[in-house]
């Protein structure tokens, strides 16, 4: 343990240098703000600030980009809770219970608790990064295509169970999400699928355009009239009202711990990360929680996934820094910074550049602390935003959505994509489908196909290779159990309701 302590001290010395502190603050501050604004995600923020990183030391550059990265995750849930529009796609889960909490006048508490949960999750993720990097990196190597496939099946089954109501509807959304994810060039042959000749679709439907259309635009259409009718004056924004009740605290504690562990695990696997972690955490809490209030403003549905999301943000650096394997486009940019500064990313970074590695890790913790301090006073400010009449808000939200998508892709065709996904999203919503499972299906679908086909390709078409390892057996077994349980419960609830309901 002595070495970890030494390393932490070394890291703190680097992280607390005035320049690094300044860049850290700049990063988390910009990250939070840009995270709150729907449409502008971490990718835009980082791409825009990327040029700055040429002129500063590599540590400062990474501290800045890292700060923006996990800062947006803190901010992303804010608009999800207040407006039911996720600021970033990965905060889609925060809509499920965060928005109902806000409608009940508990927005302050929800925001306060997400900040606490984010800090908690971030800290656990950093501890995992400090203590278990080599171990986690080694276990990431054990995940081959068959294991990834099984894990993704599990993630998608879990996602279809998180929506309230019929599990079949959840599965339908996941499957539609997968289909939308398959649009574009096939990884194996380059065959263009479901593009109908549109160049804009060659690369597939873009995630931000989809998330903004299906959540943002459809939410605006839905709320324009209904929000006005709702009473928005009952929002108490005093500090006391912001504090969670004792029972809320008690209910949040275990979800936060479980969420952090789930997040730390998924974050470290290249290609998965915060989005799937938050879904898994939500599904877990929904199974474990003995409350009927999920989907109607359960605090566990906010704190668990939020802790998972932020823990995953931190452990995502494990494969990036220790293996040189970036798990997401954002991580690839972070690797790009290393390359520009002449540091070859790969297994040698931790050994050759201890001050960079540990300085960065400790700066994450400093940054998380800053976010905690920065965000709690802001909660009052955000809640005040709810007092602005919705008819003044929605034109601005619409502008942020459209402009955000436009600046992310630098291509006005994506605005048309927002239009179509928005119309489709509203139709689904009208028909009683929830959009959250669709987003996860969209993200995991193409990866699932990739791993499905690679497993077959590598084994020469042998289906037993899907269950040849313990990891796959457990994942697929749990998936089957969840599916069965979910379908039985749907059936039972239906028959129970039909007895009680008016005829």
């Amino acid at each position: 343990m002595g070495t970890i302590f030494d390393n932490a001290v070394l890291g703190l010395q680097v992280a607390l240098l005035p320049t690094n502190l300044m860049f850290c603050f700049l990063g988390v501050f910009l990250g939070t703000i840009l995270g709150v604004i729907p449409g502008i995600g971490v990718l835009v923020a980082i791409s825009l600030l990327f040029p700055i990183t040429f002129h500063v030391e590599p540590v400062a550059a990474l501290v800045l980009l890292g700060g923006i990265y996990y800062g947006t995750t803190y901010g992303g849930s804010t608009s999800a809770i207040l407006l039911n529009v996720p600021g970033t796609p990965s905060s889609a889960v925060a809509c499920l219970d965060g928005y109902p909490m806000a409608q009940k006048g508990r927005a302050g508490t929800a925001l306060f608790m997400t900040t606490v949960a984010s800090f908690f999750g971030g800290t656990v993720g950093i501890l995992a990064l400090m203590g278990f990097s080599p171990m986690i990196a080694a276990s990431a190597v054990r995940f081959g295509s068959a294991e990834y496939f099984a894990l993704m099946v599990l993630g998608l089954i879990a996602a279809s169970s998180i929506a309230s109501g019929s599990m079949l509807k959840g599965i339908a959304m996941v499957l539609i999400g997968i289909m939308m994810g398959l649009v574009g060039a096939d990884v194996y042959t380059g065959t263009l699928r479901f593009t109908f000749g549109h160049v804009a679709l060659f690369e597939g439907v873009s995630i931000i355009a989809l998330a903004m259309g299906i959540f943002g635009v459809s939410e605006i259409i839905h709320s324009v009239r209904s929000v006005k009718k709702a009473d928005t004056t009952n929002h108490d924004i005093s500090f006391k009202a912001m504090m969670p009740t004792r029972s809320e605290m008690r209910a949040s504690w275990m979800p936060m711990i479980r969420g952090s562990m789930i997040g730390s695990f998924f974050g470290a696997l290249p290609g998965t990360g915060g989005l799937i972690a938050s879904y898994m955490s939500y599904a877990t809490e929904k199974r474990i929680g003995k409350t009927e209030t999920f989907g109607k403003g359960a605090i566990q549905g906010v704190t668990g996934p939020e802790a998972a999301n932020n823990a995953a943000d931190q452990t995502a650096f494990i494969p990036t820094l220790t293996l040189g394997i970036p798990g997401s486009p954002t991580m690839a940019i972070i690797l790009g910074v290393l390359i520009i500064h002449g540091i070859e990313p790969g297994p040698m970074v931790v050994v050759n550049q201890p001050d960079l590695f540990w300085g960065l890790v400790m700066s994450f913790w400093v940054g998380n602390l800053m976010l905690l301090v920065l965000n709690i006073p802001m909660v009052g400010l955000w809640v005040r935003l709810l007092k602005v009449p919705f008819h003044l808000m929605y034109p601005a939200i619409l502008m942020f959505i459209v402009m955000g998508v436009l600046t992310t892709y630098n291509d006005e065709i994506q605005v048309w994509v927002v239009l179509l996904t928005g119309a489709f999203g509203y139709l689904l919503r009208f028909l009683g489908f929830q959009a959250a499972p669709l987003i996860l299906g969209f993200v995991l679908g193409p990866m699932m196909e990739e791993h499905f086909r690679r497993t077959l390709l590598l084994s020469g078409g042998d289906f037993t290779s899907f269950v040849s390892s313990g990891i796959s057996q457990v994942c697929l077994g749990v998936s089957a159990a969840l599916l069965l349980y979910g379908l039985v419960m749907t059936y039972r609830n239906r028959s129970k309701k039909s007895v009680q309901g008016p005829v």
């Binding site: 040029p51 081959g144 295509s145 060039a185 690369e203 070859e344 790969g346 297994p347």
Partner: protein, 315 residues
């Protein structure tokens, strides 16, 4: 060559106005990949020196999508005035052959300046029983379609490298494409595939012993890997790597193209920039515009031959 002649023809007819004043406003360098990728990094690194040299603001615009198709198409359709310059890697060439069903032709672009050429090396999983390229070739010949070679994607330079090598020595292998080089490297390290062709940027994995390098497809050995022989030393005439280059719309007046060439050539020879490129394993031998155009034409011919032999399937 056709590209070159077309460029010349148009240049004569349209060169009167713009050339003398070029550049008089902001120039965009369009990178068809996301910010932070290697290509983007090179472009941005050249930015300050390029601004100094041209006396104008130069910005990098990222237009990622469909390999490099979206960005390439954007430049091909822009005004041919030298204010939108494409900087791209190999994809723009292989897309021309592999993605036939697109509203873009490489002939709409004129190659102007070649920044450098990477080199691919064959690396195998750490526990692979064979060590020399000769043994591996013999084994692959005896077991057609059994050697599993990963790549960073269909049509990406590692895939093309593998097919070119296989074609040259007359073997068949099982191609396992990935999305990007990172996940494919991971499966080589973990031993789920036998090996892959990869850029020299994978040197650190060789140094750490996570993979073993067999042979490198360059003219000379790489300074960081003095023990890894070239294919040529082993009697296989095989040199291949991605090409980083700058392209403008084909109708751009030739004297504007000349000015762009001169500016880029000056900046690329800046010691600091050249150092970075060499460290990344690029061959930065200076080449004229005509030489660059010939290289592109040769690549196309080579790719078309692979298609004819059925080793590559256009979509």
């Amino acid at each position: 060559m056709k590209v070159f002649i077309a460029a010349l023809a148009v240049a004569f007819s349209a060169s009167f106005a713009l050339a003398a004043d070029y550049p008089e406003r902001t120039i965009s360098i369009v990178v068809p990949y996301s910010a932070g990728g290697v290509t983007d990094a090179y472009a941005r690194q050249m930015l300050p020196k390029l601004q100094e040299r041209l006396g104008q603001t130069v910005i990098v615009e990222n237009k990622p999508g469909s390999g490099s198709l979206v960005g390439a198409m954007d430049v091909a359709r822009s005004e041919p005035d030298g204010y939108r310059i494409l900087m791209t890697a190999y994809g723009v060439i292989s897309n021309e052959v592999l993605m036939t069903n697109t509203p873009f032709e490489l002939a709409d672009l004129s190659p102007v300046y070649m920044l450098g050429r990477g080199s691919n090396m064959l690396m195998m999983r750490p526990d692979y029983p064979l060590d020399t390229i000769q043994e591996i070739t013999d084994w692959a010949k005896a077991h057609p379609g059994e050697m599993k070679l990963a790549s960073s994607g269909v049509g990406a330079s590692p895939h093309i490298a593998a097919e070119l090598w296989a074609n040259r020595v007359g073997v068949d292998f099982l191609h396992i494409p990935y999305q990007g080089s990172a996940p494919s490297r991971l499966d080589v390290i973990a031993g789920r595939v036998d090996g892959m062709f990869d850029g020299v940027s994978a040197v650190s994995y060789v140094e750490s012993g996570d993979v073993k390098a067999i042979a490198i497809a360059s003219e000379e050995r790489h300074p960081s890997l003095p023990d890894v022989p070239t294919f040529k030393e082993s009697g296989i005439d095989f040199v291949f790597g991605t090409i980083f280059g700058f392209y403008v719309p084909v109708d751009t007046p030739q004297d504007v193209q000349d000015q762009i060439f001169a500016a880029l050539a000056d900046v690329a020879r800046d010691p600091e920039i050249e150092k970075t490129l060499v460290r990344q394993g690029l061959d930065t031998t200076p080449r004229t515009q005509a030489e660059f155009q010939e290289i592109v034409a040769n690549e196309l011919a080579q790719l078309n031959e692979l298609v004819k032999l059925g080793r590559l399937t256009p979509q």
